[in-house]
Structure formats: C-alpha cells, structure tokens
C-alpha cells in the first residue's frame, strides 16, 4: 500500500459535486502538486486530507492506517492526524510571538522545555528567521509570516505536509525565491508534501508529481515532464504550458504516425486513440513551430516537412523569445515562439512547419 492513499473520495454539498471519485496514491517523500483551475476542488481535497472536511464517500489511508473511512465509520480528527499544514492566509496567530507560534505544536505534545527550545531554533534556522523569535506577526513582512507558518507546520516532524497556495499572496519575485526555499526544505527534511496551486510554473518547478484536476476529477497524473510532453487532452496541454490545436486525418505509417491535414503532411511523434483514416485532433507547442517568411519559403529551402500558409497577426516580446500569432486560413490562430532575430511584422505572409505534435482526444468545450 502506498504511503498515503485516497480511495474513491467524493464530496458533495447540497447535491453539488465538488470532488468526484478521486483515487490518488502518494509515496513516502514524494512532492505532489494538485494543480487545476479555480474552483476545481483542490482545496476541498486537501482539507479532506487534513480532516477539516468530511468526505461524502470513500476512504483515506496514511501509513496503512485509515484516517477516514465511510464504511468503517472512522474519522480521525485533524489534531490526531499528525499532519502539518500551511494556509493560504498564513494563519499565523497574531497574539503569539514567532517563537510561541512555532512552539505551540510541540507544547501540545507535552515536549520538554529544553527540547522545545532546541527544535524551535532548528525550525527558525530552517526558514531563515534567526533573530526574529520575539517579534509579533504584525511586525513581520508577508514573506516572513509565511516562513513562520512553514516552520510551525514542520517543527513537529509531521507525517505529511499540506500547503494550500502558500505563495499566492506574495509578489512574483518573492514567490520565486520562496519556492526555491520550499524545495530546499523538502530536500533537507525528506518530508512528504501535498502542494495545492493553480500556478503551473510553481507546480513544474517544485513537484515530483503533478495531479491535474478539473471539475472535481483527476484528469492526469504524472511527472511535470510527462504531462508536458504527453498531455492527456487539450485541457492538460493548455493548462501546462501553451498549446495549439488543429484537426486532421490520421494516417499511420510505421512507428510514428503521420497526420495529413488537407494540404499538409506532418510527422506526429505520439499517436493515441487515432484510427487510420479517421478525423483526429492534434496538438503542438509554440516552440515546435517554425516560421519561414514567404520569400524564403518560395526560394525552396524548406526542410522536407509540409508547410501551412498564414499571416502574422501580433507579436509579443518576452525577452528570451518572441511570440507570434499566425492566422491560418482566416480561421485558426496559432501561437508560435521564435528567436528575437529576423523580426517579422503583423501582416507579413509566412509559412509554418511543425516538427513535433501529438494526437489527443477531441477537445471538449
């Protein structure tokens, strides 16, 4: 059995399904991110793990022991689960100093005074707050309060650490710094982490495993690389990174398939559920699109791939790369990334080639 296991977990409020039949296994020491759009049930799932929300159905196990089981009538209260949690609002107690905040979980466990002191110091060091022990939360910056919240959550060496969008109220710069620190803390403590976020960058940077959710269901589970390279559907591809989508007819040739879209011939690396001769949806990333200006294309230096004709619609500068919008056949808009040399202008005629694409299930809107 896995270290933490959610089995057929569902939650509904007044007939409104918020989490639907979630199954999830988490290994010891794993860093798992729950990722998904707002309202998809991430927080609810996390709070069911913590014990603040009682599931409507299913079972939750940790270290082979049930935390919740509808059938067995077991529901361990939050304080007995030995789980640490960091809240979006930090939830640092304003009437206690930094030291008292971090010491509180230990105090409840009747830890000896000297030991509390030692462990709190250790925790304060872990989050780089040395010297601020006697401060009240109102005398700390947002980032510092967040560190207190993290130290408080890990000081009792919990079996599992839950974080609910812990960085969403920090500014972009600080956020990046903090997620490196969270990563460092995780490495140093070897703790098992479930991290809720709707920021795909955060999830990619931090996790072993990303669990993508939508409308209360798990859509895909895999390593960041897995999900980026082989998204299960358009939703996943679009949520993790940027994605373009085109319709075509599947033709399988050898190992790799080839998609033929009316006037285009395209090698596709990974064909899934695409039947020979059937309509299929395929999907590719902006960085896998090559843009060739019309004159160059007409000079005949194309690479053997088929090309699609289009017109540049917009251009955005991102420093390390340039994003272009390209209109194909006056109906489909494709996003493409290219280097920042040889600038093209909106209105320029171009051809594009696509050198890596995959098929996915039909887009469901």
């Amino acid at each position: 059995m896995a270290y933490v296991e959610l089995r057929n977990i569902s939650k509904w409020y007044q007939g409104n399904t918020v989490v639907h039949d979630v199954n999830l296994k988490i290994e010891q020491g794993e860093f798992v991110s729950l990722l998904g759009p707002s309202g998809c049930g991430k927080t609810t799932t996390l709070r069911m793990l913590a014990g603040f929300v009682e599931p409507t159905a299913g079972e939750i196990y940790m270290q082979d022991k049930p935390l919740y089981s509808k059938i067995q009538g077991i529901n361990i209260p939050p304080e007995k689960r030995h789980i640490g949690m960091v809240f979006q609002s930090y939830a640092v107690w304003p009437h206690m100093t930094v030291f008292e905040n971090i010491a509180y979980p230990l105090k409840l466990r009747k830890t000896h005074k000297n030991e509390i002191s030692a462990k709190v110091s250790e925790g304060i060091e872990l989050v780089n707050l040395t010297g601020l022990e006697k401060r009240y939360p109102s005398e700390l910056s947002g980032g510092q309060q967040q560190r207190v919240a993290i130290a408080r959550a890990v000081v009792m060496k919990p079996a599992l650490l839950l974080l609910d969008e812990p960085l969403s109220s920090l500014d972009a710069k600080l956020r990046e710094k903090m997620y490196q620190e969270i990563n460092a803390i995780w490495r140093r403590t070897g703790i098992t982490v479930v991290y809720v976020t709707h920021d795909q960058k955060e999830a990619m940077a931090l996790s072993d495993t990303i669990v993508l959710m939508k409308h209360g269901e798990i859509i895909q589970r895999g390593s960041p690389c897995d999900i980026y390279e082989r998204p299960a559907n358009y939703f996943c591809a679009d949520f993790i990174g940027k994605a373009n989508i085109l319709q075509g007819i599947a033709t399988v040739r050898g190992d790799s398939g080839i998609m033929i879209s009316k006037d285009m011939f395209l090698p596709v690396e990974y064909i899934k559920e695409a039947e020979e001769g059937r309509n299929a949806t395929f999907l590719f990333r902006p960085e896998h699109v090559r843009i060739i200006p019309e004159q160059v294309w007409n000079n005949g230096c194309h690479t053997g791939y088929s090309g699609l004709a289009g017109t540049i619609t917009y251009r955005s500068y991102f420093g390390s790369y340039m994003e272009y919008g390209i209109n194909i056949n006056y109906k489909t808009e494709i996003r493409a990334e290219s280097n920042t040399q040889n600038l093209l202008e909106p209105g320029d005629k171009v051809f594009i080639t696509i050198h890596k694409a995959i098929t996915v299930q039909e887009r469901e809107d």
Partner: protein, 568 residues
C-alpha cells in the same frame, strides 16, 4: 453534514435548550396566555381590554407621546447632525460630546432630574418665579408635555448618531453633480440629499419610536402624579391591582397589543432599510465641502450650545444638587449642602440589601451572559447549523421588545413551580437574574459574533492541525483574539443591568430590591434627597462602565496590531 453527538455538539445543544427555556418558552407562553381561558381559546381578554376606557386611553396616550417624541427627536437629531457635520458652525466637536451624554444616563434617572427642575416647585420654576415675581410656574413637567420633552431630550442623540453616520457617508460629489446640472441648493437638498438620507432617517425614527413605546421610567415618574398612563405604566398598574382575578390575563393581552405595535415598527424598519439602502460606492474619505453659514454661525452655535446644555447637563446638575442638599426645597446655599444624604442612604439596610442584590445580579448575569452568549456567537458564526437563523431571532427578540413584555413573560412562565425541582422562581432573586440574562444576552452575541467574524477560521484550523483539540483551539487561539469583545460585552451587560428599572420593577419582591427599584421607590415616597444621592451613585457606576469599555478598546488596539485578514 452528518450528525455526531460529540461533547461539542452536546454543549451547543445544551445552550440552545437554555435559550429555548429562557427566551422562547416565556414568549410563546405569554402569547398563549393572552388567548387562553378555562374554556379554551378566546379573545375575551382583548375584548375586556378594549371595554375599559382607561386602557383605550393608555393606548391612545402611548401613540401620542411616542409619536410626538419621535418627531421632536427627529427634528433635533437631524438638525444637529446637519449643523455639526455639513456646516462650518464652530465648536462641533464639543457639541457632539454634549449631545451624547443622555445616552449614558438611565432614562428614569433622567426623568427624575427633569422633574426636579420643572415640577411646580422645581429649581427652574422657582428661579423663574423669583425673577419675574409671579406665582405661576414656567412649565409643569407632569403630564404628556413633560413626558414628550424628556423622552425627546433622551432620544435625539440616537437620531443624531444614526443620521450623522449617513451624512458622513454622503458623497459631496453627488450633491455637486446636482448643482452642476443647475439645481439650486434647495433643490439639491430636496431632490438629492433628503432622498438619499431618507431610509436612515426613517430607520432612526422607528428605533426612537420603539424606545418610546417601551419606556417605563419616564411615564412612571412624570405620569403617575397626574394619573396619566401609557401602555407600559398601565400594565404595571394592572399587575398591581391584586384584587383583580384576571390581572395576569389582562396584562398579557395589553402586552400583546404593545408587542404588535413593536413588531409592526420593527417590520417597517426592516423594509425601510432593505428598500432604501443606497450603497454609495467608495464612500468619501476626504474633506467634505461644508456649507458656509456666514456671520450667523456664531449665534447659531451659541443657541445650540445652550440648548444642549439645558437638555444634557443641567438636569444632571439638578440631581447632583438635590443629592447634596439638606432638604429638598432649601435654596442651594453653600451652608445648605451636605454629604449626609449619601452616608444616610448607604446606611439604610434596605439600600445595603439593594446594593448587594444589584451587584450580585449584575455580576452573575454579565458572567453567565458572556459564557452563553459566546457559545451562541460561535454557533452563529462558525457552524452551518440550520437552526442559526432561529437562534439569532430568539436571542434578539427579548432585547428588541419592550422590557415590560419580557418581565411579564417571565412572570407567567416561572410563576408555576419548575418541573422536577418543584420550586417556583416567582418572587425570588432568580427570576430577575433569568430576565436580565434573557434580555441582555443579545449584547454579548452581537459584540462577540462581530469579533469572531473578524478572525480568519484558518487560525483555529492551524491550531487543530498542530495537534490542538477543538476545545484547545478555541481556548488558545480564538478567545485570545476576541478577548476585547468579551470584556466589553461583560461591562456592557453589567452597566445596563446595574441601573435596570423596567424589568426589576415588575419582578422585584421584598428582600430582592435592586438599586434602581430602591431609587424609584424612594422617589415615589417623596424622599428626593436620598433617591438623588442613590441615583448619583448609579450614574457614576454606569459612566465608569462606559469609560472602562473605551479604555479596554484603546489598550487593545495598542497591544495587538492588525492580523492579516483574508476574506473567504
């Protein structure tokens, strides 16, 4: 949500049961009593009430007195709010302080003070007669005119505070926009300012109206002398007509009439607020343009100051004087002053007993109300129990309704022996305690639930996940956050109950007098110097309470800064 019978659930259920027993049951029981006879349901009691012309008169008087006082308060209150907030009249800070003094004074003490000024041989009348060498007094306080005057003097501050808030919220840009469209200042007042203000003014009017129809102390002190009765005093009278067999039934039928009046007004207020609450987006914070009064601002300021001094301060000086004078009627020469009234009145064994009673009642009711009220506030703000709405109403009702009704409901509910215990609370200390708790629980619930709502629930959950049980998460995290509200609601209940008259006057019995009852009885027997001395002590205690609340608020603000709050 599945229902588990944990210790917490049990605690909540216990508290809800208590609310049922002390709030809901007495009210429903009284409703039932008013339509019950030995033969079953009947409207006979109501018919009897309307047969007696004295009752009809009391109803009519209630209307006359309450609506006149409401009108007068409205004029004084809004006028003052306008002058102090929207014009450049000098001295508005000082005037604001003056105008809220009556709010901290128990109304019956206020009535006593006015009575000492304007009874036919009162200080003001005597002064007038000497100055103008006449035998006619300037104004006789006894009767409807005096009652209306004292009620208004005591209530216009309420109107002032409510409308002042509305005036402040009023965006001067709204008025400027009107002027830019070409409206004259008068048109702006009529078409923009007043329509926007109207819901607030209406709400204030109804609050005052309910206060007036509920008032007992003022019509008792200024009406009994000349046999002028309103509903509350008439109910008191009927309950004291021991020779009547149906005095309870008659009183409850009359209470129902009063109740209907109060409920109707409350309903009107709700409607007024719902219909006309204009959310003024981005309420103005900056300087509001003040109307320039020009040269007449000084006479206006002086006039208002004198008016406020007369209505707020002079009566208290009068009662202070009486408390220090050797015998009422002597001229206030220095040689006629003495502290003997204070020592004398405190020496009375009756007063000693009353002090002990009141102190015990107030401390006990404040403490119990804070404990129960906090739990109710928690249920209201932190659970999703369906019963919350009803609980809220059940707690608010005894406060919103006239005290006379609450007292009568208590008598009817607890005159019979309690089940199991077999003892009756009637004519004991305990019925007063129950009534105090039932009536003032609302203060605690309102104050504490507002405070709890300010605390992010994450804070408690953070404690739970750290290993704290529910009880410890409340004790270590929630309660320290709302400590200020606990302390101020305790003081609030204490300072209201220590000078409470309306409930006590109907519920007291020999040996169970409260201080207010003692003051009232001394006053009624004509012992003005003693009653004034006692009233002064009461005043100081209430005033001390309010100052203490202010102090607690300030200290708390200094100590703990803002916590991070994120709306859920």
């Amino acid at each position: 949500m599945k229902f588990r019978l944990t210790a917490r659930t049990m605690l909540f259920l216990l508290v809800i049961l208590l609310v049922l027993v002390i709030d809901v049951y007495p009210m429903l029981n009284m409703l039932l009593k008013s339509v019950q006879s030995t033969q079953g349901l009947t409207f006979q009691h109501f018919i009897d009430v309307f047969r007696d012309s004295r009752n009809i008169e009391a109803i009519a008087n209630t209307f006359v007195v309450a609506s006149s006082a409401t009108c007068l308060s409205l004029i004084l209150g809004t006028g003052l709010a306008y002058l102090t907030n929207l014009t450049d009249m000098p001295g508005h800070r000082f005037l604001r302080v003056l105008s809220v003094i009556p709010l901290f004074t128990p109304p019956f003490i206020y009535a006593m003070a006015w009575q000492q000024l304007f009874n036919p041989a009162g200080y003001a009348n005597k002064l007038y007669m000497v100055m103008f060498s006449t035998r006619e007094p300037l104004f006789n306080i006894y009767g409807p005119a005096g009652i209306i005057l004292v009620m208004s003097a005591g209530s216009f501050a309420t109107v002032f505070l409510i409308t002042e808030g509305a005036f402040r919220q009023m965006d001067s840009a709204l008025e400027e926009a009107g002027m830019a469209c070409g409206a004259t200042p008068m048109r702006v007042l009529k078409d923009i300012t007043i329509p926007i203000m109207l819901p607030n003014i209406l709400a204030a009017a109804i609050v005052v109206f309910i206060t007036e129809i509920s008032n007992f102390g003022i019509p008792a002190i200024l009406g009994f002398q000349v046999s002028y009765y309103v509903l509350t005093t008439r109910i008191y009278e009927v309950l004291n007509e021991f020779y009547r067999e149906d005095s309870f039934e008659a009183a409850s039928a009359m209470s129902i009439i009063l109740l209907v009046l109060a409920l109707l007004s409350l309903w009107l207020k709700d409607r007024a607020i719902k219909q006309g609450r204009y959310e003024i987006a981005g309420a103005t914070m900056g300087q509001q343009a003040r109307v320039k009064l020009g040269i007449i601002k000084f006479p206006i300021s002086i006039f208002v100051t004198i008016l406020l001094l007369i209505s707020s301060v002079v009566p208290l000086i009068a009662i202070g004087l009486t408390s220090l004078i050797k015998a009422y009627g002597l001229s206030p020469h220095f040689s006629n002053l003495t502290l003997a009234n204070f020592t004398g009145v405190i020496g009375l064994s009756l007063v000693k007993k009353a002090f002990a009673n009141s102190l015990g009642l107030s401390v006990a009711s404040a403490t119990i109300a804070v404990v129960i009220g906090t739990i109710i506030a928690y249920i209201l703000t932190r659970t999703n129990w369906k019963i919350r709405r009803w609980l809220d109403i059940a707690v608010a009702t005894p406060y919103a309704l006239p005290g006379t009704i609450v007292a009568l409901a208590m008598i009817l509910a607890f005159s019979r022996p309690l089940p199991l215990l077999g003892i009756s609370l009637y004519n004991t200390f305990w019925i007063i305690l129950v009534a105090y708790i039932a009536r003032y629980l609302f203060f605690v619930v309102r104050t504490v639930s507002a405070a709890i709502m300010q605390v992010n629930p994450d804070l408690e959950e953070a404690a739970r996940i750290s290993g704290a049980t529910w009880y410890k998460s409340i004790r270590d995290v929630l309660l320290p956050q709302v400590r200020k509200s606990l302390i101020s609601s305790w003081i609030l209940v204490f300072s209201h109950t220590i000078s409470e008259l309306t409930l006590s006057i109907l519920l007291w019995s020999a040996g169970n007098e409260t201080i207010a009852v003692a003051v009232f009885n001394l006053q009624e027997t004509g012992n003005l110097t003693s009653s004034s001395a006692l009233a002064m002590i009461l005043l100081l205690v209430s005033l001390g309470g309010y100052l203490l609340i202010e102090y607690v608020n300030q200290v708390n603000q200094l100590k703990t800064g803002q916590s991070i709050r994120i709306e859920r």
